[in-house]
Symmetry: C2
Subunit: 108 residues, 2 copies
């Protein structure tokens, strides 16, 4: 699959960008919810470091996850579907071929 | 000041250890309090990463701070006094010379 050769129209880029932003918002919301829910349960230092480990992992993950370069978009979108942050239906409006490729990638 | 030559009696080690543990407990309590107080105020990703940065710094600090090797105890204790986590009075029971040395180190 030669990702570098895939062409994205301005409309498609807009759709992909909106999907990415929606996913990012949802992921951030989930992180904030998790912090709030767990803050009250923290009672010892191990709990604090567990929260720290969780945030370290999340930061690393979020930093690398929303790559919107055209040559990576297909992978980025499939990853977000796999993570349950977007749905294939959010990509309707993309060329059918792109939708198929994203769908295939979600199975890898 | 030749720290390596300082001798600590079992009683003195017990006093120093108790001071360290008390300080550690107080510091951890403050970290937990801070997480709880701030969790409700977190509303965007920048706040989340700010909490992460705070925890990273605290973890690094706490990891290195409570060095109870005899050759470091004087420094450890003076640092805890400087940080307001223990008081000189917590060290009564140590040889007067040790108390003086810790006091001097707090001014450095």
């Amino acid at each position: 699959m030669q990702q570098a050769e895939v062409q994205w129209s301005p409309e498609e880029k807009k759709i992909a960008q909106a999907a990415l932003e929606g996913a990012r918002d949802r992921e951030i919301e989930a992180v904030i919810k998790s912090i709030r829910e767990n803050a009250g349960l923290i009672s010892q230092i191990e709990d604090v470091w567990q929260l720290h480990d969780y945030l370290s992992a999340k930061r690393h993950e979020i930093d690398g996850k929303y790559d919107d370069r055209e040559s990576f978009l297909m992978f980025t979108l499939s990853r977000l579907i796999k993570d349950g942050l977007i749905d294939l239906v959010d990509l309707s409006g993309l060329e059918p071929e792109k939708q198929s490729k994203v769908k295939i990638l979600t199975r890898m």
